[in-house]
């Protein structure tokens, strides 16, 4: 369920804490930062000064697209209902179902 996707974005949209999915190169092709580096405020400032305009970052797949995420949640909840089809009304079944529904819907 937890896979990452890569996004090519404008540097102005990058935040500290984001992780590079590809090495960041300068105009002449020299590597400034390797793949896997975490961007900090300091590195972002320095990159802006150098005139770097874009970077490729990796994102957890579930933050990618809200509509996609909503669809995934719907499917996950429907699947839970199917799994609990014989136990949703007995004993602690409802309690577990409720907790798992919350889990599948989490951010």
């Amino acid at each position: 369920m937890n896979t990452t996707i890569t996004r090519d974005i404008e540097l102005s949209l990058a935040d500290a804490g984001m992780v590079l999915a590809a090495p960041l190169l300068d105009a002449s092709g020299s590597m400034l930062l390797p793949e896997g580096s975490t961007l900090t405020e300091a590195t972002l400032k320095s990159l802006r000064r150098r005139g770097i305009e874009r970077c490729t970052i990796s994102l957890p797949a579930d933050t990618a697209d809200p509509a996609q995420r909503a669809r995934e949640r719907e499917l996950a909840c429907a699947r839970l209902q199917h799994l609990f089809r014989h136990s949703a009304e007995q004993e602690a079944g409802p309690a577990l179902l409720q907790m798992l529904t919350g889990f599948r819907n989490r951010d």
Binding site: N2, L83, F84, S87, E91, G93, A95, L96, M99, L100
Partner: protein, 276 residues
Amino acid sequence: MTAIDDVIKRIHNLPSLPAVVAELLSSMEQEDIDVHALAGKIALDQALTAKTLRLANSSFYGLPSKVNSIQQAISVLGFHSIRTLVTACSVTGSFAPTPGLEFDFEAFWRHAVGTAVCARALAPQIRLSPETAFTAGLLHDLGTLVLATRFPKEYSEVEAYHQQHDCTTSAAERAVFGFDHAGIGSALAAYWKFPLPIQQAVEEHHQPPPTSSLSTVIYLANVLAHALDFSGQEDDQVPPLSKQAWALLNLSESSGFALFSEAEHLFDDMCQILVH
């Protein structure tokens, strides 16, 4: 109907686990263990060693550099972890799919590994050893494998009943055989010389005693493994969850989420190596 004694007899015709695994199992109840000697014996089994090292080097353990030998794996991860991994590799390798047999081995092992990882995650909540819980979780449904591989004709009737009634595997087994896999699994655990608490947990995993114990952990782990949809079977279902067992866990929402997350991550890593 097949008498339960016939099944027990068949169990005694099954191959034993490798000698080194039997030694590892008896070490579970000893305090004074010759780790070095045991490590040497494990290393003699190349296939077992290779699989164990792949698990030790998986992202679950997140080791900064790879381990290349059993001795090294033990010094980095500890003897108990390696014992569990070796046992898991040996058990999952012991039932080869029979050609022509219509039994979903992959789904079976996915659920077994799923239960094992849930048990490992749950064990600290009830102050039990995560390694023992993992092993018991892995073994809990082995009785089903015995029935499916040794009594294929009857087992296809079980599958048919199961599909027709949309019931649990146990209910279908009881309808066809007159008994279910719990007692069979515990007889196999005894034959393979697993410690008594593990044998009991396998026996009791559908109906644990009211006090908290390994049996309760395995019971809960089994329910959770179904609820987390680990087997990948379309018609899977969550068995009944007793209020008493759930209350023993006393899970808050945040610990519940953390538990589910941990189980899912561990499951992905373990499955890649243990399930073919």
